[in-house]
């Protein structure tokens, strides 16, 4: 009796899991229409169709829209599955072929495929990433655009102490309260990393939020004199904050890079995506993010199209 009950429950659980798994991989996130109506449409996939995915944050969505629009202009059939979720959710989709192309970031992607990777410099990370990826996935040329943690100060602070890089901050560490997300006290590239790489120990650490309004406000109002923000945060340009260089690569490189199914990476596709990577810079990402968070909440595809036009990619 008990055994039978158990078997029943087990069957139900397995069935539920299978159904969820199916839903997870075949769910088309389907309200995105195919970009290019020239194809015959419907589920009959043309061999050269590329499914572009994105993670669920605006910057990644607009990058995916840029890839998609540029490829579509070359007459390549595109299907979009945007706003999928985090890497744990979409990465399996890349492996089973339900997503072909994703805008990715070198450092975090490397950490995802190889947890013990220690590379931090842009070229080292990129080389290690090329080695660590499974054969069915390829990264194309990386761009110089990076979305990563950085130590940021106000323009006034930078001028007063003539700060260019994190190294310059050391002489004033005793006067600096540093603000950032609580976990940075513990992360290898956080306080322990500052100490190891730059022998930098701040007077005090003020745990705030993760590149959010508290941190920006604290830096602006001089509650903290240096803070951890993301390099593509529009608050940096709006408030004239200065991003300090990181010559020792304390923060691992996070260059934007197209991650693509190797089978779909034809020369034409590579050419289009590499041309985009060649143009992308961190400043452009800041600008795109600023446009996306503007009060009128423009559509990411519109922002992407505008940028492609202004960058002269067609």
């Amino acid at each position: 009796m008990n055994k039978r009950l158990f078997a029943g429950v087990a069957t139900a659980v397995v069935a539920a899991l299978t159904m969820t798994a199916c839903g997870g991989s075949s769910d088309p996130t389907a309200n995105e229409p195919a970009q290019q109506p020239t194809g015959s449409g419907g589920p009959v996939a043309k061999p050269d169709k590329i499914i572009v995915g994105s993670a669920n944050f605006p910057e990644n969505v607009v990058l995916a829209e840029i890839y998609a629009a540029a490829l579509a202009k070359k007459g390549i059939t595109i299907e979009k599955k945007l706003n999928i979720g985090n890497r744990e959710t979409y990465y399996p989709g890349l492996q089973d072929g339900s997503i072909d192309l994703m805008p990715e970031y070198t450092g975090v992607l490397l950490q995802h495929v190889n947890k013990s990777a220690t590379e931090t410099g842009p070229d080292d990370v990129y080389a290690a990433l090329q080695k660590a990826l499974p054969p069915n996935l390829t990264v194309l040329e990386k761009s110089s655009a990076e979305d990563k943690d950085a130590i940021v100060v106000t323009k006034e602070t930078a001028d007063r102490w003539s700060l260019k890089s994190i190294e310059d901050l050391k002489a004033h560490a005793g006067e600096v309260i540093f603000g950032g997300p609580p976990e940075i006290a513990n992360r290898p590239d956080g306080l322990p990393g500052f100490k190891k790489n730059y022998d930098l120990e701040f007077k005090e650490f003020r745990p705030l939020d993760t590149g959010g309004p508290l941190t920006v406000n604290a830096l602006k109002t001089n509650v903290v004199q240096a803070a951890d923000l993301f390099t593509t945060d529009p608050a940096i340009t709006v408030n004239n904050f200065v991003v300090l260089d990181d010559p020792k690569n304390n923060f691992a490189a996070q260059n934007v890079v197209p991650l693509i199914n190797s089978a779909k990476a034809s020369d034409e596709v590579k050419q289009v995506l590499n041309a985009i990577s060649a143009k992308l810079t961190t400043e452009i990402l800041i600008d795109l993010n600023a446009k996306l968070s503007a009060p009128d909440k423009p559509d990411a595809s519109k922002v992407a199209a505008d940028w492609l036009a202004s960058a002269g990619i067609s």
Binding site: P181, P182, E183, A185, N186, K195, P207, N217, A218, N222
Partner: protein, 262 residues
């Protein structure tokens, strides 16, 4: 377990880990990532004390006035209950964003004061309302001025309930002061929030350790206040609840018989 607990998914003894965290001398002194437990306790008590002092200054006079005069009782109860419904965490984040991180302590204090007012107000108000009207009448009959009636009769008799309100308020504020950590202030909440954000076994241990410290602090403060209550409440009022109930039961039937006779 030699190569560190929690690796390869092996089960861990939570109590052992938390105990180890609590007894690790490094956690009790300032180091590069934390001020140390004694400093955090002091911060926690400072936030609590600030809030309680302001809340007493607001709630007790209102409670005494309303309790003594009986005017606006429904308003007090209504407002107090409305305050109880405030979501402290949401409110504090809203206030910090509006006022700026530089004023985080002020924002926190406002929220904790709002939290402490209802029990203080309810305790004071009901304490004074529950003073036997005959005692007040007697005081008035003896020629006492209203002020003396309040301060020498009603408040001393209401003291047990007022202090009960204070104890409830203090406990709630100690527990809730942990939200200070959300906007970059200190206190024992630091361990809970940071531990969660670290997301490692070490972090979760710290989180549990912080929770234990908050609970322990609440208990110690509660016992202290209970001791204070014993000292300041007039000995004649001890066990008063019990004897008063008896009196009431006896007087009521007598009144009824009188009515029946007349």
């Amino acid at each position: 377990m030699d190569q560190g607990p929690g690796r390869d998914g092996a089960p861990v003894n939570v109590f052992e880990l938390v105990w180890a965290w609590l007894t690790d001398p490094e956690n009790w002194q300032k180091n590069f990532r934390d001020l140390g437990i004694p400093a955090r306790i002091l911060e926690h008590l400072t936030y609590t004390g600030l809030a309680i002092v302001f809340a007493v200054m607001i709630a007790v006079p209102i409670g005494i006035y309303v309790g003594h005069t009986g005017r606006g009782g429904f308003l007090v109860v209504g407002v107090a209950n409305w305050f109880r419904a405030l979501p402290e965490l949401g409110l504090v984040i809203l206030l910090v964003l509006a006022m700026g991180v530089a004023l985080a302590l002020q924002a926190l204090t406002i929220v904790l004061v709002a939290l402490a007012i209802p029990p203080l107000l309810a305790g004071t108000y009901s304490g004074l309302r529950n003073v036997d009207p005959e005692v007040v009448d007697a005081a008035r009959g003896m020629g006492m001025r209203e002020r003396d009636i309040v301060w020498r009769v009603e408040v001393p008799i209401a003291l047990p309930l007022m202090l009960g309100g204070l104890r409830t308020a203090t406990l709630q504020v100690i527990a809730t002061a942990s939200i200070a950590a959300y906007m970059g202030l200190g206190g024992l909440g630091r361990y809970v929030i940071d531990g969660q954000r670290f997301g490692t076994l070490e972090g979760y241990t710290m989180m549990a350790g912080g929770a234990v410290l908050i609970a322990a602090l609440a208990i110690v403060v509660e016992l202290t206040l209970a001791g204070v209550q014993r000292l300041v409440v007039s000995p004649g009022l001890r066990n008063r609840k019990f004897s008063r109930r008896e009196t009431r039961v006896r007087t009521k039937p007598v009144e009824k018989t009188e009515v029946a006779i007349s």
